[in-house]
Amino acid sequence: MDVAQLVPLAGVAIQCPAVPGRACPAKEVVVTVDNATATPVVIGGTRGGPSAPTLRQDRWWLQPLVTVTILTAFIVYSTWAIFVNKDYYVGATLHRDLISPFYSPCIAASCVPGSVGTTVVASWWHITPALIVMGGPLGFRLTCYYYRRAYYRGFWQSPPNCAVADGHRRYTGESRFPLILQNIHRYFFLIGLIFNVILTIDAVMAFRMPGAGGIGFSVGTLVLCVNAVLLWLYSISCHACRHLCGGNVRSFSRHPLRHRVWKLLTPLNARHMQFAWASLVFVAFTDLYVRLVASGVITDPKIF
């Protein structure tokens, strides 16, 4: 539809072009799904108010600043932790079975002895094993509806905060490549679930104390357990999960079971942001803790 041909909207009349002396024809066209058109608007209508990027007087810049700071710190730390390729596993020599979440499942030929969960799948892989597995969790977080909000605001400044001018002249949102790929979030959610299972197994394995009484519970065990719980909470509070588990039905009463699941997930979904931050920070902390124990900086105290 050629926008230029459309009648400019006069004043506040929504129907009649305000042509003096002419009656409005009764409109017979009823909008259907098919014939609904783009919205005819006059481009460049003069706007009111001062032409300033924002008139906000509060510290609106604080929120994006905090987001950028924490995410940058995480990226710097995790990049280092991924490429350092050592101290990610605490094994039998220290009477523990603790593995960093960045390196689990360890399936490359380069994995340190004992860290390999099941079998070496990628026998041809000789650089840091963390690189093989980071794609799943990274993709899940990159396409997450919450993180999207956080980095679009913080890094991309689009917009930096509400009622603050966009940092970019052109904007196409998530309607084109590459951002249109955000729509595959649900598959990353499913991949994320696989990692959650593996990290849960890691947490269970962390109860093993080789050479120190068989089964026990140390601070390291606790850290891995908390990490697994937070990751589960982050995953099941995901918007795609809420949709797939029940949100996609038209009638709850005809799907009572899915309605119950949806009702369970809804309050968790409301806290998705909190779970996103908590699990992010805690993943890094878990890696740090394992690293400190593995490198001998600290010993992992046994609780019982």
Binding site: V12, G45, H239, N248
Partner: protein, 269 residues
Amino acid sequence: MTDPTPAPTAADATVTLRVWRGDPAGGELVDYTLPAQDGEVVLDVVHRIQATLAPDLACRWNCKAGKCGSCSSEINGKPRLMCMTRVDELPEGPITVTPMRTFPILRDLVTDVSFNFEVAKRVPAFAPPPPPPDGYRMQQVDVQRGQEFRKCIECFLCQDVCHVIRDHEENKQHYAGPRFFIRYAELEMHPLDTNDRRELVRQRMGLGLCNITKCCTEVCPEHIKITDNAIIPMKERVVDASYDPVAWLGRKILRRRKRTPDEAAATAP
């Protein structure tokens, strides 16, 4: 209680409103200072300015109780209802009151919001099946989701704050905005509706332009969870219809095409 008279405000306390006055030809911020009164909202001060200092100060309002959504403006730079913003909750100093930025100015605090009514005209109507003899039956759990969206008072603050059109005028041609995404969500979640509007929302209503930065939810005076309960579920429904590779593969293998909007409309009674 011995003295039921509420404590009067100190006689010299004042309130200053820095109001944008102007029209399409231009305008400026003008300060109006009045004696302060207890428990006032910004709209009360605007009314007092009209009655004393500036009888021609243009301002749209109706119910003055947060139910009609007429007095939308930007107070200290934030999109808000004037009738729901108390003066005593704002920081000291002049209060800036400006018209909604996203819509063309008519005069002073009044903007031409006809964009929204144009978008409204393009929403394909609710299409229920013919009613059974004893009326439709619907369960409370099924109507509740839509009821949240029907709380909308059409103040258009979400449309105003949405950077997709606030900062990118050209997007108005193909973007419905948060207020209408909740309308589409309401219809998609209506237990009786038979239309499928997902392709329409994707192709012509610009759902993909939304980058879920959630400002609409932040400014909603009715506290509707626009992003979490309407826009994201709509995005997921659009994924179901258009972007899901497994669903796409399934359609290919089973030689099933996606329904065109035409076909979807044809199934509507």
